[in-house]
Amino acid sequence: METQAIEGGFADPVFNAQTVFRAVMDAMARPGSVQPLPALARPPAPLSATSGAVALALCDNDTPLWLDPALQAEAPVRSWLGFHTGAPLANTPADAHFAIIARPAEMMALDGFSQGTQEYPDRSTTLILVVSDLASGVPLLLEGPGIEKMAMLAPAEMPRHFIEQWKQNSQRFPRGVDIILAAPDGVACLPRTTRIKTMEA
């Protein structure tokens, strides 16, 4: 278990962190676009390579981290994140700056996480969702800032009633959570400004 916690970090911390951040930034600036990312980290399961890399690039001792029950149950995951990022675990989801969710389909409601305040909407939780792919789920038609006309994303295993929950998230603007979707071969983002157009069958 000890070696599992120590191995699998960035081989080249400075440049790998920059690569991962730029992919996340481009994905956040262009919602719906999938930014390819090689497997730069090798975290213990059920943390995926991509979600682990995103955590390494963004989390540190300033960012309380919340793990969903599937991750929370795995001691190697906790010690790997602790060793490589130094991020403290948040007591409740509402205290978390970042939350990593290995099983989005079973996750708690989005409004259980920190939404920020009207004065400081940036003090909200950023959710990192581990998804198996971005093409096989329910297709989501996206519009909003960062999207020229329309974008489409079909992430697998999304949370229950996601479209309805996301609509409520948008209504809280400027408060609300942002989502980073970590797929095996890349990242995509849903910032709180992105609106999901419901598709007519």
Partner: protein, 299 residues
């Protein structure tokens, strides 16, 4: 790489970069909202673009090509020193060519050449709060943003009209981003405001002394505030650039002598040089003058 070993890549330590990167992500997610960040001391004074430098240092990678402009020019003090800084601490390629840059750090101009989707424009911002000169208290301006209470800004623009007959604000002209936050576009001439609207490039703003980062994602509505009967207008110039004859660009006045001689030239030096390479000549271009002298005796 060996010659930059005394610094971490791009000068900032990794924890600082992570902190700034998190602020940038929040800024992108809440367009126009000023995200507080723990601005660091940089090896240059406040007012020299420390905010822009910190943003650039946090996003730049070894494959980036950096362009730095100061009032549109690539060759003025601020631009030259920041370019040299990143050459030294990040060993990145630099350019003056707008089209081939991936990151453009700017002080108070947007290049004339249209930006494309892969590019990132980093603004150096002195005072990020558009309401600051109307309400000095941060607690109050923050509340005004929270409540979307921007009446005071319209009063200011109205007072311009009452006093001058038109909106006299010419730079740092307030804009509304995506219909929600009123934002200071940094002291760019209002001539550049329309270029921000639905730009394909990502726009990031860094204010080092004031410790704020904000952003405008690509294809985001950026609307200059105005009135129905006094619509927003950009500056117009009654003559083209004296060197390259460009029209519909932003011009700087250059004093030529102490007898009132002056000329108007492109503020964007790269744009002006490219046009002259293409053979465009203004009435004061050196070789246009020669051509004129050669033909004059014949008359």
């Amino acid at each position: 790489m060996t010659d930059i070993a005394t610094y971490n890549f791009a000068y900032l330590d990794e924890q600082t970069k992570r902190m700034i990167r998190r602020a940038i992500l929040k800024g992108i997610a809440i367009p126009g909202y000023q995200v507080p960040f723990a601005s660091r001391e940089m090896p240059m004074p406040y007012g020299w673009g420390t905010g822009g430098v910190q943003v650039t240092a946090s996003i730049i990678g070894p494959d980036d090509v950096l362009k730095v402009i100061d009032q549109g020019a690539d060759d003025t003090t601020n631009a030259v020193s920041i370019r040299a800084f990143f050459k030294k601490v990040a060993n990145v390629a630099v350019t003056t060519d707008t089209a081939s840059a991936t990151i453009i750090q700017t002080r108070h101009r947007i290049p004339e050449h249209p930006l494309n989707a892969g590019q990132i424009l980093v603004y150096q911002v002195p005072i990020p709060e558009p309401l600051r000169f109307l309400e000095p208290r941060e607690t109050e301006t923050r509340k005004m943003h929270a409540l979307e209470e921007y009446g005071l800004m319209h009063v200011k623009l109205y007072e311009d009209i009452a006093r001058h007959g038109r909106i006299a604000t010419t730079y740092a002209y307030p804009v509304k981003v995506e219909g929600r936050y009123v934002m200071d576009p940094s002291p760019t001439p209002k001539f550049d405001n329309p270029k921000m609207h639905r730009s394909p490039a990502l726009q990031l703003f860094g204010a080092g002394r004031e410790k704020r980062i904000y952003a405008v994602p690509p294809f985001t509505d950026v609307v200059s505030l105005d009135f129905e009967d006094h619509p927003f207008e950009v500056q117009t110039f009654d003559q083209p650039c004296a060197l390259c004859a460009a029209e519909n660009v932003y011009l700087d006045e250059v004093i030529l002598d102490d007898r009132g001689g002056h000329m108007f030239v492109c503020s964007d030096t790269d744009h002006c040089e490219k046009r002259r390479e293409e053979g465009h000549r203004g009435h004061l271009a050196p070789d246009a003058q020669l051509a004129l002298e050669r033909t004059e005796p014949a008359e």
